[in-house]
């Protein structure tokens, strides 16, 4: 069998992408524009809940208005009598479901699952639902459902006196050396608390679904970051085989971690569809996106740094707490950056979770790393000022030459290069370290730096590649594109391997009937899927060349060649002797409709169960420290802020970030993902906060006018610089993670810049004006 090297040969190149020159847009590493762009701009792209189905009905959720207690009674009479009402679902009449396996692969307890609650553990919990002929009728009927409660005292958040210290999460403990004693005897000691509030994914496309049953076959149109995982959940809820559930999610209007799971409202819609025998659409309203699933948990950390007078860290003692719900468990790993960023002989990180009356929190761009970096990257800045060393210099003095926790070499760590490139482009050397040393009229100007990191999460993938009669290529996968560029980079991969222009490649995603795929989360998809498509496309090319060489009807038959080359859709011999024909001509002369190959990157001895587990849970994911290396992406953000000295308003005026995501499959798309992360980080640093009414345990700013995310006017030009090099230990084609990396470290870089501007250290996000006034 021929071995197909990548034409762009990452091994020979510096970065393995278009910045080396000589890489075509069509190839891996090229700057091809998003192939799904025109469909989105013209409106041709149809999102999940836009499907028009015959006999479609509409469901509206009824939510609890108390944060803790019990439903005493539900009066549905008026709702049932309301015009157009078809069904009022309550815990009393809903079909019983089974509990499903969770995303970690934990076998479920043998208890029934009911997505409507009698025991209320948070405000906004689903208690009932109404289905009607039209959406408006359902809204009106839902308002007529009367619920009586026995209210109990709620624990509203981490600062509630009733919240307590929580439950230790032993799995999060990381310790080496004698951290507490080393800290106590360190010549320089700083110890501070850093807090982050509840934050929300706020995707522009709210959640929702259309569910339709045909016999015991269920089709669900739903925006999804994980078709196979969600299909499994639906299948287990209803006790039907996995194959009976089809999930369709061709486009996703932003997920940021929130669209990877089937949630209670999905169960409600699917049950209603079954009970009614008609398709049901349930669109989660914008206010409900704050309680129908969880945003980022509020967190608290204390970071104690012991150092010598030269700023060398001798000990880090870190304690973290995140909130979780009363009956669900969410751990936001707060020691994740703390334990890898700096070299220290002594280290201790421990974490508790505290149960409060909230919806179970969930994943939001870089769960764990994001708040973790806010703690350690603020703390090291404080240390820099304590010992009088430049904040960039102190980071270099404590540079971790290997993973301090795993004690393994880095696969690649271009962080020093990131610091150098970022500092150079930003002009960091001109910085006067003194706070309040720069101003422009009423504006105090400050410069801050912070680093970020995200582990390389790896898994196995599969894909189908077909070479069609007209010479075009088709790629199929049940993975998804939520704007990050899957359609585009898979087209580039297949185009490069087979040797056709990218415009002749059609990528089909977002249907669980296609080749299986694991979760699109943890920045793993690009690495997993380019690897799988590379393998499948290579197999398809082998078949094509095999046919061309051996089929008696092939024009190459007489040539007796060992191999042939395919470029720009045409087949020829490597030496150029003999004929040259198009792929279409070859397939027609040998009488083939198409060539199809399935490729996967699973270990050869994998069983059917292994595969199922790999695609429907994360139990088969490879740890980033597996084998001989520790694998991470890295970045350094340099940020300038302007703080109005009278008003306390903070505006970010300049951002230069240098990032190491290994090899970039498409620099244009990677840059835009990094920028997206940085923009989200600016919002997180300055604006975003779910505000709780302490008497009612309810988020009161549950809409996009009051929950503030950054607007265009808040964002300056952002310069991103790639410093990555191909990392063969991280993925088949040499890339590391892109999507989550950009946000990690932005908030501390801004907080550090605010300190430089004002002399005030803000350790509670977001940095709103009243904290500086």
């Amino acid at each position: 069998m021929t071995v197909h090297e990548l034409r762009t040969r990452p091994g020979d190149a510096k970065r393995g992408d278009a910045s080396d020159g000589a890489v075509l847009a069509d190839q891996v590493g090229g700057r091809l524009s998003r192939v799904d762009g025109p469909a989105k701009i013209t409106g041709a792209a149809k999102y999940a809940v836009e499907q028009q189905l015959e006999g479609l009905t509409h469901a509206v959720l009824v939510e609890s208005t108390i944060a803790a207690g019990r439903v005493r009674s539900i009066d549905t009479a008026a709702a049932k009598a309301s015009p157009g009402a078809l069904l009022v679902l309550t815990p009393d009449n809903i079909l019983p479901l089974r509990t499903a396996t969770d995303w970690l692969g934990t076998p479920p307890p043998d208890v029934a699952y009911c997505p409507l609650a009698r025991d209320i553990t948070f405000s906004g919990q689903h208690v009932a639902a109404v289905v009607a002929e039209t959406f408006e009728q359902a809204v009106a009927a839902a308002a007529l459902v009367k619920i009586a409660y026995d209210e109990a005292a709620a624990i509203v958040d981490l600062s509630d006196p009733k919240a307590g210290d929580g439950i230790p999460v032993d799995a999060m403990t990381k310790e080496w050396g004698e951290a507490e004693t080393a800290f106590a005897s360190a010549p320089v000691r700083i110890c501070n608390a850093y807090n982050t509030p509840r934050e929300y994914q706020a995707p522009i496309e709210p959640h929702g679904l259309i569910a339709k049953w045909q016999g015991d076959q269920l089709t669900v149109w739903e925006p999804s970051q994980w078709l196979d995982g969600m299909a499994r959940t639906y299948a287990e809820w209803f006790g039907v085989p996995f194959e009976n559930v089809r999930l369709v999610s061709p486009y996703i209007g932003g997920g940021f971690g929130s669209k990877a799971f089937a949630y209670g409202y999905g169960a409600v819609a699917a049950v209603a569809a079954k009970m009614l025998g008609r398709p049901v659409k349930l669109a989660v309203t914008r206010p409900q996106t704050f309680t129908a699933y969880g945003g980022r948990a509020a967190t608290r950390q204390t970071v104690a740094l012991g150092a010598n007078a030269e700023g060398q860290i001798q000990s880090i003692v870190h304690r973290g707490v995140n909130e979780t719900s009363v009956d669900g468990m969410w751990v936001e790993p707060l020691g994740s950056v703390t334990s890898v960023m700096y070299a220290t002989p002594n280290f201790s990180s421990r974490q508790n979770v505290v149960r409060v009356n909230t919806v179970v929190p969930g994943a939001l761009r870089a769960p764990g790393e994001n708040p973790s970096a806010f703690g350690i990257e603020s703390a090291i800045d404080e240390l820099a000022y304590e010992v009088g060393i430049d904040p960039l210099e102190i980071r270099l003095r404590n540079y971790a030459e290997q993973d301090p926790h795993a004690k393994k070499p880095w696969s690649t760590r271009q962080l020093r290069e990131a610091f150098a490139a970022g500092a150079e482009a930003f002009g960091w050397s001109k910085r006067n370290p003194r706070p309040r040393s720069m101003r422009d009229g009423n504006q105090l100007i400050g410069w801050g730096v912070a680093a970020g990191t995200y582990p390389v999460r790896r898994a196995y993938g599969e894909a189908v590649v077909r070479i069609l009669a007209d010479g075009s290529v088709e790629v199929e996968s049940s993975s998804i594109d939520m704007g990050q560029g899957t359609y585009t980079i898979l087209a580039q991969t297949a185009a490069e391997v087979v040797g056709v222009p990218a415009e002749n490649v059609v990528v089909k995603l977002g249907d669980s009937r296609y080749a299986r795929a694991g979760v699109t989360g943890g920045s793993r998809l690009a690495g997993v899927m380019t690897g799988a498509v590379h393998k499948a496309a290579s197999a398809a090319l082998d078949q094509l060349i095999g046919l061309a060489i051996s089929d008696p009807a092939s024009p190459f038959h007489a040539l007796q060649a060992n191999t042939l080359v395919v470029a720009n859709g045409r087949i020829a011999s490597p030496r150029g002797n003999g004929p040259e024909v198009s792929i279409a001509e070859l397939l027609s002369s040998v009488g083939r409709e198409h060539i199809e190959a399935k490729g996967d990157t699973m270990p050869a001895n994998s069983t059917v169960e292994d595969r199922y587990k790999n695609y429907t849970t994360i139990a088969m994911a490879l740890p980033h420290t597996e084998g001989d290396y520790s694998r991470h992406s890295w970045c350094a953000h340099f940020i300038e802020v302007r703080v109005d000295e009278d008003f306390g308003t903070v505006r970010v005026s300049r951002v230069v970030s240098a990032l190491d995501s290994g090899r970039l499959y498409n620099p244009k798309l990677a840059e835009s993902q990094w920028k997206g992360g940085i923009i989200m980080g600016i919002g997180q640093a300055l604006l975003e906060e779910g505000i709780v009414d302490r008497r009612h345990g309810r988020i009161v700013n549950n809409n996009l006018a009051d929950y503030l995310i950054a607007t265009n006017a808040d964002i300056p030009d952002i310069e991103v610089i790639s410093v990555g090099i191909p990392d063969p230990h991280s993925s088949v084609l040499g890339g590391k993670g892109v999507g989550e990396l950009g946000i990690v470290g932005v908030a501390p870089a801004i907080a550090n810049a605010v300190f430089h501007a004002t002399g005030k250290r803000v350790r509670d996000l977001p940095i709103t004006l009243e904290k500086l006034i």
Partner: protein, 327 residues
């Protein structure tokens, strides 16, 4: 389903007649009304669409002043050359409000009538108690999340902030609201909550805003609207100030100062004490800063909104000093 009748008014008189029906509400750009209907706050029985009325969207500016039709869109008024040159604070208040999309839909009449952003007011399902919404039911905000609530003009019945920007500029320059034949000063058009926070405007059933008149003045010509908020755009004011100055012939002594505050009071708030303290004085930074403190005389905070008491005078002082610089 909550049905309502939809009436397209054919004349101002017809609109006023329809608006007098119980449960009737006028529909202009709909950016407040539709929003509140979705929240379950507005439940009109009849919606009277006035957007097709002719002649109500004109903008006329001459030496006596400006007359702006009630149906003129926010974006058109903000961009109007004569409004920009003779009433800069009005244009600035408009373009710093809401978003471009909203400004293209929203009308001047509807803008004055926009309702508070108090989150409790906007969520009847979860917070039934709201005196503004259901008189006598209590106030959910007091004792709750009050970061955006008013520090001036509040009562025990209601502490909701008047959120708009335009009206702040209008109140500074003595604008007049035209309700057909009847005219009323903007300052009198907006009511303090007192014990009847449900009554926000001096407008009777069957009345409708037909136009806004702004008298020309030297102070309006040299004016600005300064809006301070955490987000650079598309956010209501944490505190704002509309300021206009007319100087004596020496170019330093203040003859006629106008100051109004937004984002901190239950209605657009004319700060006459600041005006009186500075009229006749030479514009000096320290004097201006001291006098600006009078803007929040009598202010009462509710905890999280305390910063507004600090912030508002600084916004006033900055705006006055900025107008002084251009002297």
């Amino acid at each position: 389903m909550r049905d309502f009748s939809y009436l397209r008014a054919s004349s101002v008189d017809a609109a006023r007649e329809a608006a007098a029906l119980p449960g009737a509400m006028l529909l202009a750009g709909g950016t407040t009304l539709v929003d509140l209907a979705k929240c379950g706050v507005a439940e009109p029985e009849t919606v009277v669409d006035i957007t097709h009325l002719k002649g109500l969207d004109t903008i006329a500016v001459d030496d006596r002043g400006a007359t702006i039709g009630a149906l003129a869109r926010m974006s058109r008024v903000a961009d109007h050359a004569d409004i920009k040159s003779r009433f800069p604070a009005v244009s600035e208040a408009l373009w710093q409000a809401a978003s471009a999309q909203l400004r293209n839909m929203a009308t001047i009449g509807g803008n004055l009538m926009q309702r508070t952003r108090c989150p409790y007011f906007r969520d009847p399902a979860n917070f039934p108690a709201c005196n503004k919404r259901w008189p006598g039911s209590g106030c959910s905000a007091i004792g709750g999340v009050t970061r955006g609530h008013a520090v001036l003009g509040t009562s025990e019945a209601c502490v909701a902030t008047y959120p708009g920007d335009l009206a702040v500029a209008l109140v500074a320059f003595d604008a007049i609201v035209h309700l057909g034949d009847r005219q009323i000063a903007v300052d009198d058009f907006f009511l303090l909550p007192g014990s009847t926070p449900e009554r926000e405007h001096a407008i009777e059933p069957g009345e409708m805003i037909t136009a806004i008149g702004i008298p020309a003045s030297a102070a309006a010509r040299r004016s600005t609207y300064l809006k301070v908020r955490d987000r650079q755009s598309y956010e209501f004011a944490a505190a704002s100030a509309a300021v206009g100055i007319e100087f004596e012939a020496d170019g330093r002594t203040i003859r006629d100062l106008r100051v109004a505050l937004g984002g901190v009071a239950t209605k657009p708030w004319r700060a006459r004490a600041v005006e009186e303290a500075l009229n006749g004085k030479v514009l000096e930074p320290e004097v201006v800063r001291q006098a600006s403190l009078l803007a929040v005389e009598g202010a009462v905070d509710r905890g999280a909104n305390h910063y507004k008491i600090e912030l508002a005078p600084r916004v006033v002082a900055r705006a006055i000093l900025k107008m002084g610089e251009t002297a």
